[in-house]
Symmetry: none
Subunit: 248 residues, 2 copies
């Protein structure tokens, strides 16, 4: 059975039963415990289910606290993400006009921004809410609303970007390689990122070390087109590049 096939099977099982244990999964799927655990981690990070101790729960069944922060802090590689987010937040300076991409790391950034005279534009609703609450001048882009990431995408969103010229932009990514650049699984999101990058002077990619050497379906930027903020324990093959900044 193909890996992706197995992933789909797992998601279906979880949605069918509302929840499932790793042991139960082993009865349904012919794979080792360890593989299934790995799958659950991946599917959780992709947002297709919620991993809990003992197994996984469907997104609809799982209880989500209304506080976004709490939910983020339950996610994978959180220490790394915080370190990266904190550093990125330090790059924000007075009178900046900033594009803030959707994603957990960029969302974490907001907590650590100390500057005040900054204008933000974002396609992520949760980000907008947090930014406005902190008192920033905040603009959201128009477009088709996507439930999973709570962000807008599509032609309208891309057109909306045209009127802006950003001094800085902070982006998340699902994969980073020197050859394929920055990649993400969703084409619509990729197009928004790509366009936003075009309109941005200083482009920053926020990435924890797990994203390096990963390749997703669609490329939204070239490796040398942006500065990459990541953690100390990044793979050696990415060392020495001038645009790779290691924090912590």
């Amino acid at each position: 059975m193909l890996g992706e096939e197995r992933h789909n099977t797992i998601v279906n099982l979880v949605e069918q039963y509302g929840s499932i244990t790793v042991q139960e999964l082993m009865n349904h799927v012919d794979a080792s415990e360890s593989t299934l655990r790995r799958d659950l981690n991946i599917l959780d990070s992709e947002g297709r289910l919620i991993k809990v101790h003992g197994g996984a729960m469907a997104k609809t069944t799982a209880y989500q606290t209304t506080d976004d922060d709490v939910n983020i802090r339950k996610s994978l590689n959180i220490e790394e993400k915080i370190a990266v987010a904190r550093y990125a937040a330090g790059l924000v300076s007075k009178n900046d006009i900033i594009f803030l991409d959707a994603g957990t790391t960029t969302e974490l950034m907001i907590d650590y921004i100390m500057e005040s005279d900054v204008m933000f534009v974002t396609n992520a609703m949760t980000h907008a809410k947090k930014l406005a609450q902190k008192g920033f001048e905040t603009y959201v882009l128009a477009g088709r609303f996507k439930s999973l990431t709570e962000s807008v995408v599509g032609e309208e969103t891309i057109m909306g970007l045209d009127k802006y010229n950003f001094t800085k932009g902070f982006f998340g990514t699902n994969g980073v390689t020197v050859k394929n650049g920055f990649t993400t699984p969703d084409i619509k999101e990729a197009l928004v990122k790509k366009k936003a990058i075009e309109k941005t002077k200083e482009v920053y990619i926020l990435s924890d070390s797990s994203k390096f050497s990963q390749i997703s379906a669609v490329t939204f930027g070239k490796f040398d087109e942006a500065r990459i903020i990541t953690c100390k324990n990044v793979d050696n093959s990415f060392r020495g590049y001038k645009n790779v900044m290691e924090v912590e």
Copy 2:
């Protein structure tokens, strides 16, 4: 049984009975006293129930938590608003292209919409989230994000409305009089409403009875320009108008 699953069960039991003792919980859930106590502590710290000596109480029956502005306003005239929202939801029909205004009553509407092939456009982020979750094709408008109402307003929002032609539009209001029409305190919001009304074929104003005879700062529509959905106990002076619909 998964730990998280058990948590859900406990919360459901507590909400069902209003309150529950640890002993009662032991009859319903296959877990030791100690585990259930631990669960109650966790659920209390997560804010999902309120732990008391002997067991736990449901959140709503115990006392109101520190509600923000939005939630406080939500609780006012809630029965009336539900009645109005339910009726308005019934007006939604197949293939409609609907503008949904920000506001608590319009938000309530979403819960009662049964039709499925409907497209929504809104300037309220909470609405967009709910609509998309229910599977509707949902578009949000661009603009300056306002924290208080969690909606977008401004020139950009108004321009974004230009491209749409709505079959129906549902609007909230702060005041209704025959002479001054529909009024709201915020000029920016008023302008968005006004523009949206211009682009809408069938305009519905959702208003509980407390809004009648009230006048706010800015008028966004004339009294006879829309159909008003309100409750039976509306003031007599508004009776007899063909465009005033009393429900329940």
